[in-house]
Amino acid sequence: MKNRLRVLRAEANLSQGDLAGLLGVSRQTINAVETDKYDPSLPLAMRLSKIFGVPIDAIFLDDWTPPELPHG
């Protein structure tokens, strides 16, 4: 899934290692998320959202739109 993690991290002036340390994951995990090679778990996505102070959908970009609900 495409995401803005690298941009947000750069804006916060954090290295991959710094962010990994804050989240308790490896630097490879941060790198894999930034390069779209790994979609993080929901708990990790929520922690990222808390660290950067933005909603999850401001970090992870999903172009899926739900089908219209049938009106009863």
Binding site: S15, Q16, G17, D18, A20, G21, G24, V25, S26, R27, Q28, T29, N31, A32, T35, K37, Y38, P40, S41, L44
Partner: protein
Amino acid sequence: MADRKPRRRLVHAAYGAAIGFVIALAAGRSGLIAWLAEMPVEDMASTALAVLLLSLGLFALIAASSSALYRRMAENYQEGDPLDAGVLRYLRMNGAALLLGAALLLVPPLAVRFGFTGDAAIPVAIGIAALLALQTWLSARIRRGSDELNRAALAEASIASFWLLQFGLFGWAALARLGLVANVSLWTLMTISGAIYLAVSIVVALRRGMFA
């Protein structure tokens, strides 16, 4: 500034080729190659796999021997970036697990080659059981200490290996049952399963950017 990585990789490849040549030359002159060539093919294959695991394990232990060395060897490492918590310990544990895996593969065929058969094989079997228990304990600790990317990669590699091995095992077993191919030994199957798991793990790790 020009990218120095391709040149650096070429230099490293040249070093690797030179070291490999010297090792092969020494192995040939000492008679080790001739000695290994007398082994059954399945034992040669498992010994080759063990040597590969041994090399990977030693590489991991060398890389984890100091934080300065790890920083130099890690791809895409940025100056000033702190090391992940426990990364060196994790790498050492992986290196040790690889060395234990290599020993487990080496001991049975070498024991047979050195004449440990019948009752003389019992102490060897006890030693293998102890090594296996130690490796299982270490693997469990590695998994407990892994983060979610490592666990996901482990699960992905396990699933892919399972399907590949089940497919291959069924195919071979069906053909053998029909008398179209020869039966293979348990040791051959074990060597193949180990080789497939190693290859699949490397592919998964590459796809997940874990060497970055």
